[in-house]
């Protein structure tokens, strides 16, 4: 979202051509109309939902024990899966952005696959792998780890769908910043581990932060894979989206109220921490 720079007058905007750029340069008027239409497509349904909220009942609906349990579980699992995403995703992005190996394009496409897969398909794939009768299910059972119907299954499902967001974001930042600083650090005698900690991580921090926020938001909204893979039990696997889906069956007002909570949490997280990079 570009903000108009109020310190520059319209005539000055036309006259200047420096890199910071006047606000309307390269933005034909028709794009404003189309952009507004696009924004409406996203905002109008939210307005429509707001209009159906039963405001009088809202406090009671969102403070019911099952609603509170679902929200708490959602925040807990989304935080855990975001941490997992950062742990796994940064090295993945580094390998994808800074190395060359045969089949790299295919690997990259596979890593991004969860972005385009319907979540149910993701759930089925996870089931076939980590399920009790899946590829690794028996191994886990021998190790005494029960994944089926556990909170672990929820975190796995959320990590599966959210990881590509983090990898994409960090990889883009790595590519944009180039490898010059790392090269300089290395020629000055820094070991790869030191370069990673002292140069690469600080460089990708903005991308890492926005990627982590996107991953958290995606994990918070995860529904299909969780339902297919983890099941639905209050306090254990029934996250807020699952609770909304269930309430819709019997109490549409409660479903709308909980949907509002989810939207508010998502907006707070996005607005509070997601800062798109600006020209400095």
């Amino acid at each position: 979202m570009a903000r108009p720079d109020r310190s520059v007058s319209p005539s000055a905007q036309r006259a200047t051509g420096d890199r910071a750029g006047p606000a309307m340069l390269g933005v034909p008027r028709w794009t404003l109309v189309v952009a507004a239409l696009g924004a409406l497509l996203i905002v109008l349904p939210l307005v429509g939902m707001l209009l159906t909220v039963d405001w009088l009942q809202l406090p009671a609906l969102i403070s019911s024990p099952s609603a509170v349990a679902a929200l708490a579980l959602s925040l807990r699992t989304a935080a855990a899966s975001t941490a997992l995403c950062v742990l796994l995703g940064v090295p993945m992005a580094l390998v994808l952005a800074r190395t060359r190996f045969p089949g790299q394009r295919l690997v990259r496409a596979l890593v991004l696959l969860p972005l385009v897969l319907p979540p149910v398909v993701g759930g089925l794939a996870l089931l076939a792998t980590f399920g009790r009768r899946g590829l690794l299910g028996e191994t886990f059972e021998v190790l005494g780890v029960q994944i089926a119907f556990s909170t672990t299954a929820v975190i796995l499902a959320q990590t599966f769908v959210a990881l590509p967001f983090l990898v994409l974001s960090v990889e883009a930042t790595l590519r944009a910043s180039g490898a010059r600083y790392e090269a300089v650090a290395a020629t000055l005698g820094a070991a790869p581990g030191t370069v990673f900690r002292r140069v690469t991580v600080p460089l990708v921090l903005p991308g890492l932060l926005s990627g982590a926020v996107l991953a958290f938001a995606r994990a918070l909204g995860e529904f299909g894979a969780t339902l297919t893979f983890a099941g639905s039990l209050e306090g254990v696997t029934r996250t807020l989206p699952l609770e909304i889906y269930l309430q819709r069956e019997s109490d549409p007002d409660a479903a709308i109220a909980l949907a509002l909570v989810l939207v508010v949490v998502a907006i707070v997280v996005m607005v509070g921490t997601h800062r798109p990079e600006r020209a400095r």
């Binding site: 399920g131 009790r132 089926a148 119907f149 269930l246």
Partner: protein, 264 residues
């Protein structure tokens, strides 16, 4: 195998119905011809596809358009003005909601089938379940429907009648989700309808239990007041009425019985 064949049939019929609708919309209301839109509960997908096919064969020029979904969903769609001629739900409660709002034609609804619960276990029955009481065993991965949905309400009532306290590892939104968890072997046991076990094929073993008769689920069918096919267009009566009579008649009942549904 049987389930796969039914799915293919459903798809084929839906495709036919869709194309038939586009091409034949101008003929609606003519003598004994036209398109009949039927909303039916998801658990009726197999049987109603078969029934609709037979009904079309008996009534040349008639196309039956089937829409399957959760009963509550279908009822809210009709309430919001979805054009349907006939609706068949999986429980009496949802149909009552329609009747109370005056959306059902004067003839009212009629029960055409019943369904009871059955225990579903993976084919090899890993937990050795033999009775309803076995479902209370500690450590058992039992999956049931959530109490908010019709199958879950039935489950709760049956458990209460049997005096068995169930501690499921998951409460699903639909009977198909429960069946899926049993089929994949994730769950040791699940509670689903008799007809679901019959349709599931060889991956799933059904275990009948005496306590199931405590709650019998009734399936009502009704002609909708807004139906464009409820007017008598010929001597035998309206097309929508004909269809409901076909379902409650011997031909429809035979198909329903074959799939495991009980008599009304």
């Amino acid at each position: 195998m049987r389930r796969r064949a039914t799915t293919v049939l459903t798809l084929a019929t839906t495709a036919l119905a869709l194309t038939g609708c586009a091409a034949g919309s101008g003929t609606a209301g003519a003598e004994g011809t036209g398109t009949l839109t039927v909303f039916a509960a998801a658990s009726l997908a197999g049987t109603f596809t078969e029934i609709a096919g037979d009904f079309e064969a008996d009534n040349p020029g008639v196309t039956v358009r089937l829409t399957f979904g959760g009963s509550a969903d279908l009822v809210s769609q009709v309430s919001e003005g979805a054009p349907a001629d006939v609706i068949a739900t999986a429980d009496a409660a949802t149909m009552t909601r329609l009747t109370e709002t005056g959306l059902v034609a004067g003839t009212g609804s009629v029960v055409f089938a019943t369904n009871t619960l059955e225990i579903a276990v993976p084919a090899d029955n890993p937990a050795g379940i033999r009775s309803f009481a076995d479902l209370a065993a500690p450590g058992l991965a039992l999956v049931i429907c959530a109490p908010q949905v019709p199958c879950g309400a039935t489950t709760a009532a049956v458990a209460a009648a049997a005096g068995v306290r169930l501690t499921p590892v998951s409460e699903e939104n639909s009977v198909t989700d429960v069946l899926g968890k049993v089929q994949s072997g994730e769950a040791d046991a699940g509670l689903v309808y008799v007809t679901d076990v019959a349709a599931a094929g060889t991956d799933v073993l059904g275990i009948e239990f005496a306590e199931s008769t405590a709650v019998v689920n009734e399936y009502p069918i009704a002609v909708l007041a807004e139906s464009t096919q409820s007017q008598p267009t010929r001597s035998v009566g309206s097309l929508a009425g004909d269809f409901t009579r076909f379902v409650t008649g011997p031909a429809g009942q035979a198909i329903l019985r074959e799939a495991g549904f009980g008599a009304p």
